[in-house]
Symmetry: none
Subunit: 143 residues, 2 copies
Amino acid sequence: MFLGSYEHAIDEKGRLAIPARFRADLAGGMVLTRGFDRCLLIFPLPYWSDLTRRVSALSLVDEDARMLRRLLFASASEQEMDRQGRILLPQNLREAGGLTDQALLVGLDAFIEVWAPDRWREVQQRLETQGPHFDEQMRKLGI
Amino acid sequence: MFLGSYEHAIDEKGRLAIPARFRADLAGGMVLTRGFDRCLLIFPLPYWSDLTRRVSALSLVDEDARMLRRLLFASASEQEMDRQGRILLPQNLREAGGLTDQALLVGLDAFIEVWAPDRWREVQQRLETQGPHFDEQMRKLGI
DNA sequence: GGTAAAGTGGGGAAAAGTGGAGAATACTCC
DNA sequence: GGAGTATTCTCCACTTTTCCCCACTTTACC
């Protein structure tokens, strides 16, 4: 269960420390990949496997299936923590997420989002200004 | 589990290094063949066996099945890595994939695609512009 | 305020990627 | 059929990059 936001430095080698609170749940391995709205996603391995099982089972021949496979897997990266609890952010993913020297790790219960800090602040502002708008959305979701 | 993209050189002898992360899963042997969209495919032997069983079970009469058979089997080549972790790309396959001096190996979970780098970049651009199309796909799959 | 844990930076060792040389095989031409 | 030539394959060695560990600094918690 990942909760809360943590801002950590990305060092010159592209390493990022996982918040101590998150480490136990990622000890079994994790997959790092591109998310929506230019953020990155970190999935614990069991969650990832469950997510991708259906995609891998799709036809080799079907064009949509081929493209979907490429979208999901081509920029993903399996990572393990070093003894200091850090992972390596591959350069292509750092670029995809617009990350330079700082990263914001946001726990979203089952997985983690990684944001460039200023980009995250924009999202938060949107949350505040559009707050009322979400009432309707959430009702639709049954919450 | 093959994940991520790696660009490697093809040397004058037509040899291509397999990314270190992929080697363990290919140690039991692999089959190299033509894929769709002018890329090449590398299958681990167990996956290949399963695939051939399914394709061979298809009707002799069905035209699509005939074409699929020709694509997969006619230019297939069983390969083993040398001690440096490289395989030889036969010339006919290099031509089929439009490969010259660089190759992009893309891990797609159960198998690997091999692309000419500029051709792969086109595919990536298409992926980005067609984003919304895939939202629907993923929703159907429960992702 | 002290202690312990977390976060950060740097250095060294190991492995990955690449080019090339030598040996073995096949091939051709005399 | 044999010798010379070309080609393929395997192994070796160098260079670069990556990974891992150690140590210091900072923060949090008791």
